[in-house]
Amino acid sequence: MATATTAPASRPSPVGGSPGTKRRRSLLQRRQTRTAWLLALPFLLLFAAFTVGPVFASLVMSFTDMRSTDVRTPFAVDLAGIDNYTALFQDPLFRKVALNTAIFVAVGVPLTMVLALAAAVGLNRITRLRAFFRLGFYLPVVTSIVAVAVVWRFLLQPDTGPINQLLGVVGIDGPDWLGEPSLALPSVIAMATWRNLGTLMVIFLAGLQTVPRELLEAAEVDGAGRWQRFRHVTLPLLRPVLLFGAVITGIGYLQFFEESFVMTNGGPLNATRSVAYYTYDQFSFGNYGYASAASYVLFVAIVVLTAIQFRVLRPKT
């Protein structure tokens, strides 16, 4: 790849007089265009085949009745119109998983944001050991969801798990966190919050460091207390960072899957089954067209949520 395209010696001198300028520029432009496409093409071919193509293929498939038996003849499957979508919304299980996913986002995103912001504000105020604390909060982010879900599954065991043991110390008789339908989803949300708050904390911390100290000091001189300064100076300045955090967390939580796959298998009584899990299930059953429809509902939800978050958190002018 390091080979030069032209031998330097054979090229006309680039430092010509004014008559040659126009010609030189167009030669340079042609060479640039050629090089640009040479550099872009490998990426674009792979990207078209394995990312852009499948995004559209998924949309098309969602309007067909394609099943796993049709894999070799994908162009011979029949169109099903919007049948997949109507079937989806009539399936009580789909309505259940959509509700679970909505709860996961509606509870998980604010919870993660508040805790991450609190951690970031705390970290921003200390001087010593800052790197150590940042690392501590951040560590779960780099780990595999599957692995930490395995660990949390055992942490939350009713009898042998250390969480209930710790609760026992303060006299609380801990429940079967993952076995009770009403507690399973909150437990999975707690685990997701634990794993993801480090991402937001790092982003918020970067945002906090851009808040000019002079503004805070000016507010203090004007008699603003610590909370007022946070509320009226820091928070408005953090708006773009908060928006970014809300969007990426929302997108991530809408797709939750591994957590419940490993911790609860989607149970008990589908209490932790998500739209993504439903999509995976339908794929496993061989209902490719139907699974694609479910995945597109998820996709649309992601786009809509992102749009809402941009609207809500957009700077007021």
Binding site: L44, I126, L139, S144
Partner: protein
Amino acid sequence: MTTYTPPPSTIDDGDSLRPGDAEPAGRTNAERAPSRWLYVVLSVGVLVMALPFVWMLLSSVKPEAEVRSIPPTWLPETFTLENYGELFDRLSFPTYFVNSIVVAVVVTLGNLVFGSMLGYALAKLEFRGKRLVFVIVLGTLMVPGMVTFVPLFVLVSNMGLTNTYPGLILPYLVGPLGVFLMRQYFLGLPDELIQAARVDGAGELRIFWSVMLPLTGPALATLGILTFLTSWNNFLWPLVVAQTEDKYTLPVALALYSVGQNATQYGLLLAGAVVVVVPVVVLFLAVQRYFVQGIAMTGIK
């Protein structure tokens, strides 16, 4: 090479702020000298974050009976490596480990090479369709894996690549993140370098490869680490495309064992979790500077 230093964030309009007056008040204020309870609260927070890992490590070296004992113990009463022995002898974790490494390394190299190529073209070269390419590539950042995996599976099946390394790798060989990161970095490098190289008679490809690319070390490191960790932790695609044990990656093996007939072997599964988690944590600790940079820039976990 110059490093970027952010401009001072002061917006000094001269009269509204009186730094001389405000300064002493600011210094004596608790703003500058955080109280001890803040350290206590943060320490409790870090403890909560770390405890699952501590417990995972401690339990993985306990015999099975002790992992299941009621009440549970924290420190192992009997130290044993039998869980790890079983992982490596009976459950062929070495194979999964090698699979994870091969996939992650090739995927990382692909993203570095192809990402910096397109990133450079988008940042420093003029060509028609440039804006369109950039918009399309960036637009896919938001597309979740759940949307594409079914058609991808059909595609890979028809290529005869299910249950192969190429099948595991190809869909991830290029990605929008690499283009985005590398383009941003190239934009920050001065055009004068390129012009000087042109005057010296270097070809365009040579300028990219020998002049500009060597300056992108920090960006390549950030991208490489992000991509490696993402690939190492990737789950859904290897779950559907790897069909026999000899092609499982670590997360797939761990997940399937934890819901299969080994699901009741707590110590074994926790040792498995250690094998998945510890290598990336060590890698992360070694290079965290780049990684935290990348997170702050992109928010990708």
